[in-house]
């Protein structure tokens, strides 16, 4: 499916949901659940909180079905809600309550395992260390820069769409990204 067709399909499905066809909500949820949760996970760095926030995102989408108008891209609307919730969660300081570190042990007492295809134990450890460094470097970014980088890198959004999500101009997005990548280059320089 091409990008344009996918966008039209999203709007079409949401319009069907608006008309009372509740079954059309499932394909929308299936298509966007992953990207939204992954974005939220990288924003708040906690899988359980990310899923909780994603539940709220999709509940809000469903609740607003009666007033939905396809004036903007569905994903822009979706990520605007997701970003708003994530930024609020971070600003409310809820982070302190639910943060789990990759270094922490699980309730079962075993070290937290992260999927890795490498057979070499040393490489596994090295990758884990690198991943934690990346996670910390992203976490250290100011919230808006973090959101802009995650949408740009992982969602492959264009500047105009990121601008629409964050409610700022395209030039402001370019500036956010420039500063964010500059910080990341400095913080991760030792990994080279």
């Amino acid at each position: 499916m091409t990008a344009v067709a996918a966008l039209e399909r999203d709007a079409e499905l949401m319009l069907r949901v608006r008309e009372g066809d509740e079954a059309s909500f499932t394909p929308l949820l299936d298509r966007h659940r992953g990207p939204v949760i992954h974005f939220l996970y990288r924003m708040v760095q906690n899988q359980a909180i990310a899923e909780e926030l994603a539940q709220e995102v999709f509940w809000r989408v469903y609740r607003s079905r009666a007033t939905y108008e396809p004036t903007a891209k569905f994903t822009t609307w979706l990520f605007r809600i997701a970003t708003h919730l994530a930024l609020n969660w971070i600003r409310d300081g809820k982070k302190e309550k639910g943060q789990t570190s990759l270094d922490e042990e699980t309730p079962e007492g075993t070290a937290r395992q992260v999927a890795d295809r490498s057979p070499n134990a040393e490489q596994v450890l090295l990758r884990q260390v690198h991943r934690n460094e990346v996670r910390r470097a992203v976490e250290a970014l100011p919230e808006k820069q973090r959101a802009a980088v995650l949408m740009h890198k992982y969602q492959e959004m264009e500047y105009s769409q990121i601008a629409a999500v964050l409610g700022c101009s395209e030039s402001a997005v370019k500036s956010l990204l420039f500063r964010a990548y500059e910080s990341l280059r400095a913080r991760l320089a030792h990994l080279a």
Binding site: T26, L29, D30, R33, G34, I37, H38, Y41, R42, Q47, E51, A54, Q55, F58, W59, Y62, R63, A66, T67, V114, A115, R127, H130, R131, E133, V134, R135, A137, V138, V149, H152, K153, Y154, Y159, K174, S175, L177, F178, Y181, L184, R185, L188, A189, L191, A192
Partner: protein, 176 residues
């Protein structure tokens, strides 16, 4: 960083561009270059520029490193019961009787009306407390209790005077 001009193809074929770092275009052009999103013509021009520009070469190398580091950060898998939890929530929320009653009349969210409602409540409470029948009537009731006590004390005083043999009936009450 070199002064060697480069030419880009994105609608600017006739315009010579300076080094992306010097011109301030690095955020856009260099990011697109690293992400292989530049059109082949512009990428080829930039390739040639980078060969002779140490600054751009270093920036691209470190940006590539950041890109690869971010690629290594995989997201965790989503819970298998995510949809089920959401549908249960929808069912619970949609099933609430007050929502069913109110939503056809007020399809918009009631949340913004909450501060206004709270302010109205405070005003009504303030109005009630300031009316004579409200807060002040409570004070009046308290005053009456004090008066009854005083009457009782006066009666006790009169009884004591009677016991002392004072003829109260022949005296002017005003002189007591």
């Amino acid at each position: 960083m070199s002064e060697q001009p480069i030419r880009a193809s994105q609608g600017r074929k006739d315009k010579a561009l300076r080094c992306p770092i010097q011109s301030g275009d690095n955020a856009e052009i260099l990011l697109a270059y690293v992400d292989r999103k530049l059109d082949p013509e512009t990428a080829a021009v930039l390739d040639r520029h980078v060969e002779g520009c140490m600054g751009c070469r270093q920036l691209l190398a470190s940006q590539r490193m950041v890109w690869e580091a971010l690629d290594s950060w995989e997201a965790e898998s989503v819970s298998t019961d995510f949809n089920r939890r959401l549908y249960r929530r929808i069912e619970n929320e949609e099933g609430r009787w007050w929502r069913r009653l109110l939503e056809p009349a007020f399809p918009w969210s009631m949340k913004p009306a909450m501060p206004v409602a709270a302010a109205c409540l405070v005003l009504v409470a303030a109005f009630l407390f300031r009316t004579p029948g409200g807060w002040e009537s409570g004070l009046a009731g308290r005053q009456e209790v004090v008066d009854v006590e005083q009457v009782e004390l006066t009666l006790e005083d009169l009884e004591m005077l009677r016991q002392l043999g004072v003829d109260l009936d022949s005296r002017n009450p005003a002189t007591l």
